[in-house]
Amino acid sequence: MTSSAVHPTQARPAPPARPSWPDATGHFGVFGGRFVPEALIAALDELTEAYEAMRVDPAFIAEFAALQRDYTGRPSPVTEVPRFAEHAGGARVLLKREDLNHTGSHKINNVLGQALLTRRIGKKRVIAETGAGQHGVATATAAALMGLSCTVYMGEEDTRRQALNVARMRLLGAEVVPVTTGSRTLKDAINEAFRDWVTNVEETNYVFGTVAGPHPFPAMVRDFQRVIGDEARAQVLEREGRLPDAVLACVGGGSNAIGIFTAFVPDDGVRLVGLEAGGDGVETGRHAATITGGAPGVLHGARSYLLQDDNGQTIESHSISAGLDYPGVGPEHSFLHDIGRAEYHPVTDAEAMEAFALLCRTEGIIPAIESAHALAGTLRLGRELGPDALLLVNLSGRGDKDVETASRWFGLGDRDEVDPGPGMDTDQQPTEGAVTSGDAVPGHEAGESA
């Protein structure tokens, strides 16, 4: 790549227009809005107003751009992965490398914006929810950087499968609160964070981790994440002289997907493909494929698709990926789905782990298991579209946090009779020779018992 590495702010095209949605009250068609207790409306109004003023303030724009460049390491590169692509019907595959950001995922893009907003409204404490721990780590990082105190809510179940990130957050000075209510995963962490916020709203800002939640979060988080697609669109045009045929991303709450989709929404010829966590398979009921397997309703402050039963109770989701293990989805995705601009497909745990292993061994890149869902969708779409296709994939994060889950899935490491339990695997390296250097993917030997 050329000058963009030297003068990223200059090389970046003028910010493309914001989509015409949401409306002034946060509605994406019938989706979005604010379904929260009245007590939170004042804080949401304050955030909306402060954000609208901040986002056009030249001082903010300059400070945000400098942080992205000097702290996050933006722009992130685009990497072509030909050995991986051999398994994708010969289509050409480009990865947008959000895994190379400081803290290891796209989550930092959003958090730096919201941390600057927190400072602007004069609050000294931030709270956050986290599933995989990536948003929690990013928030703890920004809090350390800006001198804010930080509390992160994390489902107890997730503190176990993402023990590395719990340790990272604590090292960064954040308090991590394991949540023991409900399904003990991301959805319950969000409930607890809202309860904290309504109680301590005077001095506390809620740094929300994805494009879900009440207005203004879906629009604001999108604006902070769209840098992914703005950069990638220019990078692909520069190196290929054409747009990709499809842009693919995994969808939990949907922030990395919206981040890479937004710049391409006006490009009618570009397919936008979201990959949802299919868990054991949508037909088994044990999944987190919200748009594929859910129905419109209200959860966590917005109307959107969600997994729910006949009583309107949220159904617990299941995925090997903590970051995708969420029964809701951001309202803009529901909207893009209903107007037919984006398509959403499920990827099972097994398919994701196969793609995970393939990228490790063909390209030397260990992806986050979340991102591996997008890679699995890429293998499928490449085989469908064939060798002329150009596919752009958001590699939303790196897989360091997932080595324990992956080792267990593939049956690597010591096979103790006794489950070593959380955090006990750090000295257990994968057995030498257990993984060949070829492209063969080991079979699924031991599934996650989540």
Binding site: F35, V36, E38, A39, A42, A43, G297, T314
Partner: protein
């Protein structure tokens, strides 16, 4: 006139505030919860908020969460609320449904309104539905004559107080503190201020205060400035601790005594 406003006016005519109890249907099971609701009315409550169990009750503290969790896991939902509504009405209380929005939306807003009106329910309190998002519910409650109770909070601006009061019927629910449900040892000073601010725009609409009231003395204090006193977690605590319908009945008696001690607001 609305069933709730009528009952609150009747209490005022007796020189006291109304007592409104909350219990979720389905804890520890549907039948026992309905017995407890009837006992709350027999013990002296004027109205009963029939709580709909919900998987993600963002406004509830640990006590109500614990009871709801049991009910949700047992598959209790909005349809189990209708027998509770009938039983409360038969016991002489005014039943009002307290529900997060998604169970109602899933049931169908119009179907909910029709079924609730037919069962003798007064209306519904919707803690996570603000008037701005309530178009379908406002239309359905107008059509069926049901009350709709929205919430105001210490953080509400004057403009929002006015809009929320204008959209409410039956009473307006003043959430006395910034926080979630639960028993508290003192009544927050914010409660009196919020009621006073709401009073300037409320006209004839009664103002009832909830969040944190748990005993007769606190009920008496709140009854000194509000038209109704709402008690939730303290009732649920009786159930969680296994005192059941008799504990609920005794709590109602204590609270009913409290709302009478204060004397009617000038």
């Amino acid at each position: 006139m609305s069933l709730l406003a009528e009952r609150i006016a009747a209490a005022r005519a007796e020189g006291r505030a109304a007592l409104i109890a909350y219990l979720p249907v389905g804890y520890p099971d549907v039948d026992t919860s309905i017995e407890a609701m009837v006992a709350a009315i027999e013990g002296g409550a004027d109205a009963l908020e029939v709580g709909v169990p919900y998987s993600d009750p963002g406004m509830e503290g640990p006590v109500i969460q614990e009871a709801m969790d049991v009910a949700v896991r047992a598959g209790v939902g909005l349809r189990h609320v209708l027998p509770a509504v009938r039983a409360v009405a038969a016991a002489g209380g005014v039943p009002v449904v307290m529900s997060y929005w998604n169970p109602i939306e899933r049931y169908g807003v119009d179907r909910f309104a029709d079924d609730l009106a037919a069962a003798g329910g007064a209306g519904a309190i919707t803690p996570d539905l603000i008037p701005d998002e309530a178009g379908a519910w406002i239309a359905a409650s107008d059509r069926t004559g049901l009350d709709r109770v929205f919430l105001v909070a210490p953080s509400s601006t004057d403009a929002r107080l006015a809009a929320t009061v204008a959209a409410s019927r039956g009473f307006v629910y003043a959430a006395s503190t910034m926080g979630v449900t639960g028993t508290r040892t003192t009544v927050s000073t914010a409660a009196g201020e919020l009621v006073a601010r709401t009073r300037t725009v409320a006209g004839d609409l009664p103002i009832c205060v909830g969040l944190g009231v748990s005993n007769g003395d606190q009920a008496a204090e709140v009854a000194g400035f509000a038209d109704g006193v709402i008690v939730g977690s303290a009732y649920v605590r009786e159930m969680l601790d296994g005192r059941g319908a008799e504990g609920v009945r005794a709590l109602s008696a204590e609270l009913a005594d409290g709302v009478r001690r204060a004397g009617v607001r000038a």
